[in-house]
């Protein structure tokens, strides 16, 4: 099979598969679950298969012309393959966990349909070589996430889903206008064509502002971030998907895809974007230290860490970009782990209020240790993966000479340690309050995998680091 069709299958399998799942679900639940995992795992395996050509610097393009000057372009360069691998790997683990988590709720057919479609849309977005195509997939993720956040159907939950949808869609519409503005400048929606025609001059600031509006709203950056903590009403595997694998990573990916891989923006954005990011990182870290709701704390932590990633990607230094991309991987693994652990805690203790919890390490040791591993990775403690990404982001920022912003991010990094320890101590240490047992083996296995991956990611840093260096070299940023 040629590489072109592999790229096509990576997108097609989950999207088409998603529509089959509800039908299968009427026949057999078990088969539906396995198929859901199978579709996502297939996407992951095929993405892995694309690594060798990506490492060799090959860009795979699949293009079909349509009437009215529109075209359908899928492009698999190393950046896209990297993101596809990260997202599909995490989604596969999250679906595995869902087998246990979602098994005693209603509407499971809808759940698996939406989750697999969500991943399919993500894959489509990742490989999109055309701004309109990218926008279409972007909106599919908005619709699926809206349904998934409101999965439990309670009135207040649905309102929160609406909020997430409205904020991100308004952002996306602004972004669409930005795309049109780019079209006026470059004469095409095709990224390869845009890249050629905007080689010498940066993209218009007007377009940058509008696109950033969309990116920040999707990636939950201040002041468009409050929908993300509210989205914690979703089932835990869904929040893990939103935070770690797909939704908030979309904004980051598109940022890298447009502003790093395709065209440049004016010099001052290298300061403005990190400044927005640092305010976002500090404010949300503060909120994480005050909140008492388990999932909201982890959500604020995501907002804060997203700030670090934007910092790395936007500061305009090759090392920092490598750090930022590695951060996407390491944070994805760790944050998925934290949310899945939160899901176990929430399900078994029937509360999300951390002031009512305590002492769970004695009854759920594996969950506790996995949680701790993931937390260490987010804090950036070696030998966990987060250490390297954090170091590289800081080192890159220092290299580019932005010492004040670096110092502010240092404050955010201090607070990361504070709020994560507060969270861990209140939940797992001290006197036991609510007795709870370890969850089903499949759920514990999923979190243990993520905890272990956080550790392995650091010890075998050579592999992801090398891959990401190829990505950044291909972008021409190193």
């Amino acid at each position: 099979m040629s590489y072109e069709y592999i790229v096509f299958s990576i997108v097609l399998i989950p999207i088409v598969g998603a529509f089959i799942l509800p039908i299968i679900g009427r026949i057999s639940h078990r088969l539906r679950n396995l198929l859901a995992l199978g579709f996502v795992a297939a996407s992951f395996m095929l993405s892995l298969y694309l690594i060798p050509p990506a490492l060799a610097g090959k860009v795979i393009t699949l293009a079909r012309q349509f009437p009215l000057g529109l075209n359908f372009v899928l492009t698999a360069d190393s950046l896209a393959v990297f993101m596809a691998c990260v997202s599909s790997l995490l989604s596969a683990i999250i679906i595995l966990y869902s087998f246990g988590y979602i098994s005693h709720y209603e509407n499971q057919n809808e759940y698996y349909f939406m989750v697999v479609l969500f991943l399919g849309a993500m894959m489509g977005l990742v490989f999109s070589g055309n701004l309109i195509l990218l926008y279409v997939f972007w909106e599919i993720t908005a619709i699926t996430s809206w349904r998934l956040i409101g999965f439990f159907r309670e009135k207040s939950y649905v309102l929160k889903a609406d909020k997430a949808f409205l904020v991100t869609v308004f952002g996306a519409l602004a972004m669409l206008i930005g795309f049109i503005s780019i079209y006026q400048q470059a004469g095409s929606f095709d990224l390869a064509v845009i890249k050629e025609s905007l080689k010498t001059n940066p993209v218009a600031n007007f377009a940058v502002v509008l696109i950033l509006f969309g990116i920040f709203s999707k990636s939950a950056t201040l002041p468009f971030h409050t929908w993300l903590p509210d989205a914690g009403v979703a089932p835990s595997p869904v929040t893990a998907l939103l935070h770690a694998a797909i939704l908030v990573k979309i904004g980051l990916y598109v940022f890298a895809r447009l502003f790093l891989a395709s065209f440049t923006f004016a010099e001052f954005w290298h300061v403005v974007v990190p400044l927005v990011a640092v305010i976002s990182a500090i404010v949300s870290a503060g909120a994480a230290l005050i909140e008492t709701d388990l999932k909201r704390i982890i959500a604020y932590s995501t907002v804060s860490q997203i700030g670090f990633i934007f910092f790395g990607l936007a500061i305009g230094n090759g090392l920092a970009i490598v750090g930022g991309l590695l951060y996407i991987l390491m944070h994805g693994i760790a944050k998925a782990g934290l949310f899945l652990c939160a899901g176990i805690i929430e399900q078994n203790t029937k509360t999300k209020d951390i002031t009512k919890l305590g002492g769970l390490i004695t009854t759920m040791p594996i969950t506790a240790v996995s949680f701790l591993f993931c937390a260490f990775s987010v804090m950036g403690i070696p030998p966990f993966g987060g250490f390297f990404s954090k170091y590289m982001v800081f080192a890159g920022a220092v290299n580019s000479g932005h010492l004040v912003i670096t110092a502010l991010f240092l404050v955010a990094a201090f607070m990361t340690i504070l709020y994560l320890f507060r969270l861990f101590n209140l939940i797992f240490l001290g006197a036991a309050r609510i007795p709870a047992k370890e969850a089903s083996p499949i759920m514990v296995l999923s979190v243990a995998i993520l905890g272990a991956l956080s550790l392995v990611g650091g010890i075998l840093i050579w592999y992801p680091s090398k891959f990401v260096q190829v990505v950044v070299t291909q972008m021409g940023r190193m």
């Binding site: 201040l222 005050i290 954090k390 800081f394 504070l418």
Partner: protein, 608 residues
């Protein structure tokens, strides 16, 4: 490849440490054997590696992050010290920890700590060093955590304090790498200009926080109460001093050109002097054997930082010599504390007293190490302190005075401790107390003997330390032997006699060794300050956490404000707007007619 032997001090303890994790429950002897074997092998390797020069490099994460190690005289010296303490304290632990819970975790963390500490010392790449250095946070947390049920609070405190300092170190390393263009430690040589000073201070924060200097000290006294005792003897007393001071010396001697008279040097000396005085004042009033020692563990770091901060050869040698001396007597003192606790079941001085006759060997070891730390000639502490005094006096009278006053209180508090624990009346409860077993005594005896040897034959350790500075700095001087400045020695002796007189007077006044310093504790102004300090009023950690919470609350309010805009303001504005629009649709035929006509007019205007 021959060079790979350099990996052994990292791999062997790590391997055995991970093995300990796999030992099933109930096989206590297996865990002990593994710990003993690992530390013994490690010691043999350290001895074998001593005097060799090896450089080793492997590619790692790319971008200048090579896994490069380097063994030379300085690192070999520290590696040997680490291996020795590791072995002796493992030996001690085998008996001491026997009936304690969480044995598996204890030995595993112990061995992994050993591995990481070796890694820090051997690393020749700043990021690799940071990797091992920050990794120590994990075992630090783990070892305090297993102490007792509520020990996790102290473990968290330690983690947060050291973790924050380590983040500063991380940024410092990034900045150093940026300024010098390389991360290879042996190739960095930077001036202390504006940016250089910032980098230096960030690295220094990492170094002195590891060493346990103020203001990064406040977890140590808490850990003395909560953590298992061998942890105290191993980590805060020995390893952290070795690593912190090693790194401080590397940055001020090799990586940066710290010169006497630069403001950074004055800053370092001030931190040292303040640490000496404040910590020893706190040590003076403690009523717990281990907690008293822990404050001394902080205070003594002050001497090392002061010595190195002078940026004079005599001060650096004094600081390094003091580092090794302190590691010796402080770990031994903690071990005597452990013996007392093991035999009597308490470390509370109010319940001790008179056990010197029951535990003569422990008492003898205590006396030797206590006079060493007090700086009595001819024990090792005397010689290193004299070197530091010499350097401090050259840089400023105030620093010298701080050091001497520190010595006075050190001597006073050890007179109090020895008197309260080992002399005086034997309580009814302690009548049946026995000396501890030989396996526990042996490490104490060895270390106490080393204290004597390093004092009487001080050319031995100083002969190892001097080459570290290099011929150029030494300029032909030799600092071993008896101190050259007789006046300093006379003052030292007067101060020590003063401490003795103070003690005798205090005992006479209050009638007990424990209350010998009450006249200082309850002196007019001091009593208020002491009272506040005991209530953690001045604990930088508590203050920092309060600031962080206050700051976070502002962030949280800001966040809620933004959310209010989405949840309320936007909704209200939308409804207000649509309400107005709605009014236009009033169902009145004439209104709609006007709308239509107006629209028509607009279209016509547009078309024309």
């Amino acid at each position: 490849m021959q060079d790979k032997i350099i990996l052994l001090p990292i791999i062997i303890p790590l391997f055995f440490g991970l093995m300990v994790f796999t030992v099933p429950k109930g096989f206590r002897a297996a865990k002990e054997t593994l710990a003993f074997l690992a530390t013994f092998l490690n010691l043999l390797i350290a001895i074998a590696l001593f005097k060799s020069n090896i450089s080793f490099s492997l590619p790692w994460a790319g971008l200048g992050l090579e896994f490069s190690l380097r063994l030379y005289n300085f690192s070999a010296f520290i590696i040997l010290s680490i291996a020795t303490f590791g072995f002796l304290i493992a030996l001690y632990s085998i008996v001491f920890m026997r009936d304690k819970p969480s044995l598996k975790q204890f030995y595993a963390y112990f061995l992994i700590t050993l591995s990481l500490a070796s890694g820090v010392v051997l690393a020749d790449n700043l990021v690799i060093m940071l990797f091992f250095w920050e990794g120590l946070l994990l075992t630090l947390f783990g070892m305090i955590y297993i102490g007792k049920k509520e020990a996790f609070k102290t473990a968290t405190k330690a983690f947060i304090i050291v973790g924050i300092a380590d983040l500063c170190l991380m940024v410092g390393i990034a900045l150093t790498g940026h300024l010098s263009g390389t991360l290879a430690i042996s190739q960095i040589n930077l001036p202390l200009d504006a940016l250089g000073s910032i980098a230096f201070i960030l690295l220094m924060i990492g170094a002195i926080s590891k060493a346990g200097s103020m203001p990064f000290h406040s977890w140590i006294p808490d850990a003395a109460i909560d953590a298992p005792l061998p942890f105290m003897a191993l980590i805060p007393a020995a390893f952290e001093k070795l690593l912190g001071i090693y790194f401080l010396t590397r940055i001020s001697m090799d990586m940066f050109r710290l010169t006497a008279g630069s403001w950074v040097s004055v800053l370092l000396m001030s931190i040292g002097a303040i640490t000496i005085i404040l910590a020893v004042m706190m040590a003076l009033i403690q009523k717990d054997y281990k907690k008293l020692l822990s404050y001394h563990a902080i205070s003594q770091v002050g001497y090392m930082i002061l010595g190195i901060g002078t940026a004079l050869p005599v001060g650096i040698i004094g600081g390094l010599f003091h580092m090794i001396n302190n590691a010796l007597y402080k770990s031994c003192l903690f071990l005597t504390g452990g013996s007392v606790e093991k035999s009597t079941g308490t470390a509370n001085l109010e319940q001790l007293g008179g056990i010197g006759v029951k535990m003569p060997v422990t008492f003898a070891c205590f006396i030797i190490t206590a006079v060493s730390i007090s700086g009595v000639p001819p024990f090792n502490g005397f010689f290193s302190k004299e070197l530091v005094y010499d350097a401090a006096l050259e840089r400023g009278l105030i620093f010298y005075l701080a050091a001497v006053v520190g010595s006075f209180f050190t001597a006073a508090s050890f007179l109090k401790l020895g008197h309260a624990a080992f002399l005086g009346k034997l309580s009814e409860k302690n009548k049946s107390v026995k000396e501890v077993s030989f396996a526990m005594l042996l490490p104490m005896i060895i270390i106490a003997l080393l204290c004597v040897i390093f004092g009487v034959f001080n050319s031995l350790p100083i002969g190892l330390i001097q080459p570290i500075l290099g011929k150029e700095r030494l300029a032909g001087h030799n600092y071993s032997g008896f101190p050259s400045n007789a006046w300093l020695v006379i003052i030292t002796i007067i101060v020590l006699l003063g401490a003795l007189l103070n003690h005798i007077w205090g005992v006479k006044n209050k009638g007990s060794g424990l209350k010998a310093v009450d006249h200082i504790h309850y002196a007019p102004v001091l009593s208020v300050i002491y009272d506040r300090a005991e209530k953690r009023f001045f604990d930088p950690y508590e203050i920092g956490v309060k600031i962080a919470h206050g700051f976070s609350r502002i962030g949280f309010l800001f966040d809620r404000g933004i959310d209010w805009i989405y949840d309320n303001l936007t909704v209200k504005l939308t409804f207000a707007f649509t309400d107005q629009i709605k009014k236009l649709h009033n169902g009145n035929y004439s209104t709609y007619l006007i709308w239509s006509l107006a629209g028509l007019v607009l279209i016509i205007i547009f078309l024309i």
